[in-house]
């Protein structure tokens, strides 16, 4: 049985950009800032493409929730090997308050609508570092979940997932359909090649509204204030370990 995979690809501020807090402290500056696909989502797409190359997955649907620009992120996924894209149009105030809870409702609705049996996501996004969407999606669907995956193997109707946990690695076997979230070591994403970038232009990309999926975006979360992390103070250089110990004692650390 070939699987159908839904892969979430989030548009985030590029990893190399220096993040700045807005003067009114409601969030961070995003206007005119370079965005790219969340690196963990790239890993999720790569895994789906590899499963497709092994003929285990028959179709890969890349989905992104957010404003118009998310279509660029979906195009990147299509260039990497996804078959088609769904852009869930969320903008303005709704986008500002969009969090894991609402996205998980969207993903769950799409998973049912598209009749997929594997939802592949990044373990977290590098902007808010929530690490909740995968778990919540599994809960919404009442499907098993394999989070922080560093190895995924399809074994008949089941999925063997090696998970990265604090103590080392944990191997679990879960029934399909399931939700899997990708950890850093699952794979190394490929470069989108130029021929594939051009081909991606011709792949199908549909836009839907959350309401089309019967999802309401009401948020239970209110942002009070966003602050810069405290500035790191300059350090002191010491010549010897004795000096170091003396200094540490002086400031009462040992």
């Amino acid at each position: 049985m070939a699987l159908r995979a839904l892969v979430g690809v989030k548009r985030v501020i590029d990893y190399a950009v220096k993040i700045r807090v807005k003067p009114d402290k409601t969030g961070v500056v995003t206007d005119g800032v370079k965005h790219s696909m969340n690196p963990f989502c790239e890993i999720a797409i790569e895994e789906a493409v590899r499963l497709k190359e092994k003929k285990i997955v028959s179709e890969i649907i890349a989905v992104s929730c957010g404003p118009q620009q998310c279509q660029e992120t979906i195009r990147t996924a299509l260039a990497m090997g996804a078959d088609r894209g769904i852009h869930v149009d969320v903008s303005g105030k709704d986008y500002e308050s969009l969090g894991p809870f609402q996205v998980s409702k969207i993903l769950a609705a799409l998973a049912k609508k598209e009749n997929v049996n594997l939802v592949l996501l990044g373990k977290q996004a590098i902007d808010d570092d929530c690490n909740q969407t995968g778990q919540m999606t599994a809960a919404q669907l009442d499907w098993p979940q394999g989070t922080f995956a560093s190895e995924v193997k399809v074994e008949g109707e089941k999925l063997k997932v090696v998970r990265e946990i604090d103590g080392g690695l944990e191997t679990i076997s879960i029934k399909l359909p399931a939700v899997v979230t990708a950890d850093l070591r699952l794979n190394e994403p490929r470069y989108a090649t130029l021929p594939n970038i051009m081909k991606a232009k011709k792949k199908k990309l549909e836009t839907v509204k959350p309401s089309d999926l019967g999802v309401t975006l009401a948020s239970q979360v209110q942002i009070l204030s966003v602050e810069e992390p405290p500035q790191r103070q300059a350090g002191v250089k010491v010549q010897t370990t004795e000096d170091l110990v003396a200094k540490l004692k002086e400031v009462g650390r040992i």
Partner: protein, 428 residues
């Protein structure tokens, strides 16, 4: 004092670890200036979303496969061309504007320019130059005028990154005066027998084949030359030495001698006697490619200079706060944008089929001049740090000096422009 100096240098080094283009974007956004932000939108003049996607993908290769090793290659005086070209070839970056039946992408020249511009993010001039020779300097004539058989043998593997190409035009006694080359290719039976020398050959120590310009008859200098695909691993090809250069150190540059090298006549590109004309056509692309290549390094340098002078204090205030510093940097940034505009105009005309020799020459002239101005001005603001080999500014000061010399010196560009202006003195 010494400790403080070293510490500030290290602080600077940390900042350089970030891709500077990205920092530039974030820095400008903090200016909260609507007009400035508008410049960050994808360039609507020449580049589409596909151009941007291409650049983003190439950037990943640069950050992962090239920049982490660049210091090592600079020191070694060579980079692993076969390895890097294979990576770029597999991703489709070496034949962007070449025909699809030969493994190219069949896109217009603006895509090559997008590649050239993005390659400017490589933190040394040598590697992008070597890539440019492979993709846009040694191959345009072959791709436009070569026979199908010749293209299968040389163009296909070059686009795929399996073969490394070099271009053999300059000689010890002829450089910008291309018409004066001495190397000969004399027909003997089904072979050309090649004798002579080539000088300043980028990729020369690693190349598998050379796009060679040689005299194939005694006719007038503009009508006696031919371009020939010459395999480098033939008896009689002597790579005399790897030239020790002031800059572009990660790129190998060779002096090569030919002693009765026999090459089948079918390796001739296009028609015999058309070599000079083909080469002049080839130069248009080479020059626009060269202009595209200076934009990012110069912008990056200005940004790094801003970052450094902002944190480097002199007389109790950041160096950047001196009007002579921030005004100068603004002036230079303006000139870079002007150069970019000229380039995009030339490219837009070129892809519509126009001869852009004049604009390409003007662009090349200005690129060389401006590269000297920017690197020199920035180096001055870096003070003692700028004079060390630990910083990008000193490397680019050395590397970019070549722009005014290679691919036709500034003076040659001026002569070409003068021809278009009809101001060359006539013989009395």
């Amino acid at each position: 004092m010494a400790t403080w100096w070293a510490a500030s240098a290290r602080a600077g080094l940390r900042a350089w670890a970030l891709p500077s283009r990205l920092r530039r974007l974030s820095d400008i956004s903090s200016a909260r200036n609507g007009d400035l932000q508008a410049t960050l939108e994808p360039d609507p003049v020449l580049f589409s979303q596909e151009h941007n996607a291409l650049q983003e993908s190439l950037r990943k290769i640069i950050d992962k496969e090239i920049n982490p090793f660049i210091d090592k290659w600079e020191e070694a005086g060579q980079f692993p061309a076969h390895k890097i070209f294979k990576i770029l070839g597999q991703a489709g970056f070496l034949g962007v504007d070449k025909a699809t039946e030969y493994g190219g992408m069949g896109l217009d020249f603006s895509y090559s320019i997008a590649v050239a511009e993005e390659l400017g993010n490589i933190r040394a001039g040598g590697v992008p130059m070597a890539i440019g020779v492979q993709s846009n300097m040694a191959t345009p004539a072959l791709s436009k005028f070569g026979s199908n058989e010749l293209k299968q043998q040389f163009l296909v593997p070059t686009i795929a990154g399996d073969l490394v190409a070099c271009l053999g035009v300059s000689e010890a006694k002829a450089g910008s005066d291309v018409a004066n080359i001495h190397t000969t290719a004399v027909r003997k039976g089904d072979d050309y027998v090649i004798n002579g020398d080539k000088m300043w050959i980028t990729n020369g120590c690693q190349a598998d084949w050379m796009c060679l310009l040689a005299n194939t008859s005694d006719a007038a200098p503009h009508k006696n030359k031919s371009l020939i695909c010459m395999p480098m691993k033939l008896p009689g090809v002597h790579i005399n030495k790897k030239i020790d250069k002031m800059g572009m150190r990660s790129s190998d540059t060779a002096q090569i001698f030919f002693e009765d090298v026999r090459v089948p006549c079918k390796y001739l590109i296009g028609e015999e006697g058309m070599g000079f004309t083909y080469q002049m056509l080839q130069f248009q692309e080479e020059r626009m490619w060269g202009v595209a290549g200076v934009l990012k390094p110069l912008e990056c340098l200005i940004q790094e200079t801003i970052d450094y002078t902002r944190q480097r204090k002199i007389f109790n205030q950041p160096v950047l706060y001196n009007q002579t510093v921030h005004f100068r940097l603004a002036e230079l940034a303006t000139e870079i944008e002007l150069l970019r505009s000229l380039l995009y105009r030339a490219v837009a005309l070129y892809i519509k089929g126009n001869d852009v020799t004049k604009f390409a020459s003007m662009g090349k002239l200005k690129a060389g001049r401006l590269a000297r101005e920017v690197t020199d001005s920035c180096l001055q603001f870096w003070g003692g740090m700028g004079f060390t080999n630990e910083v990008l500014v000193s490397r680019l000061y050395r590397d970019m000096r070549l722009i005014s010399i290679g691919g036709g010196a500034d003076e040659v560009m001026l002569s070409i422009i003068c021809k278009y202006m009809d101001t060359i003195p006539r013989k009395m």
